[in-house]
């Protein structure tokens, strides 16, 4: 892991974490429930990206499993919430 790649991955981590802030703003300010759901979905995707960047930075395999589980659960959660928003019941 030469210093150039390590520095670049640290910059990636910082930028990805900085990208969460507009999503949190959208989640709070979002006029409708769909805006908030979309913001949560984007935050979850960014979290998966952060987990992957950490996996690459720390050469840890654990974060890849975390990203896999997060991807699966966020997909199911988003679908349930989207259905709840449009139809009032989610199954």
């Amino acid at each position: 892991m030469n210093p150039l790649a390590e520095f670049f991955l640290q910059v990636t981590l910082i930028v990805l974490i900085a990208l969460v802030i507009p999503c949190v703003h959208r989640m709070i300010a979002g006029p409708s429930a769909a805006d908030r759901l979309q913001a949560v979905d984007t935050i979850t995707t960014l979290l998966i990206g952060i987990a992957l960047a950490l996996a690459a930075l720390r050469q840890e395999w654990m974060f890849v499993d975390i990203a896999l589980a997060l991807a699966a659960l966020s997909f199911i959660g988003t679908l349930a919430l989207a259905r709840y928003i449009s139809e009032g019941k989610w199954f």
Binding site: L4, A5, R26, D41, L52, W61, V64, S86
Partner: protein
């Protein structure tokens, strides 16, 4: 000396990072839900895909798991974006600057509610 795999890893992560930044920029600037969904779709599919390929180059042992995650993400994230758009439309949100609404005209013909 820089390994070839790390050059590709840095290039892929840069690709993913670029689309994440552009997607979040779109999410901030777009006027209503549907256009923001279009922007956030970029973040989830292309941004995540770049990061996945980059991590596969940095962690070659877990490459198979990362490819499985990439396939899963490419298949499911557009579906979740579409579900949010359908929920927004069901919630009664009209597009901000839409000149016409095709779904509204076809709504009475569509069997499902």
């Amino acid at each position: 000396m820089v390994l070839m795999s790390e050059i590709f890893g840095i290039a892929a992560v840069a690709f993913g990072l670029f689309f994440s930044v552009v997607g979040i920029l779109g999410l901030v600037r777009m006027p209503d839900v549907y256009t923001r969904l279009h922007a956030s779709g970029k973040v989830s599919t292309l941004g995540l895909f770049g990061l996945l390929v980059g991590t596969a180059f940095f962690l070659p042992d877990t490459a198979l798991k990362l490819i499985a995650l990439a396939i899963f993400a490419i298949l499911t994230l557009p579906v979740s974006t579409h579900a949010i758009a359908k929920a927004a439309y069901g919630h009664g949100i009209t597009p901000a600057r839409a000149s016409r609404d095709d779904l509204a005209e076809g709504r009475d013909m569509s069997p499902s509610a």
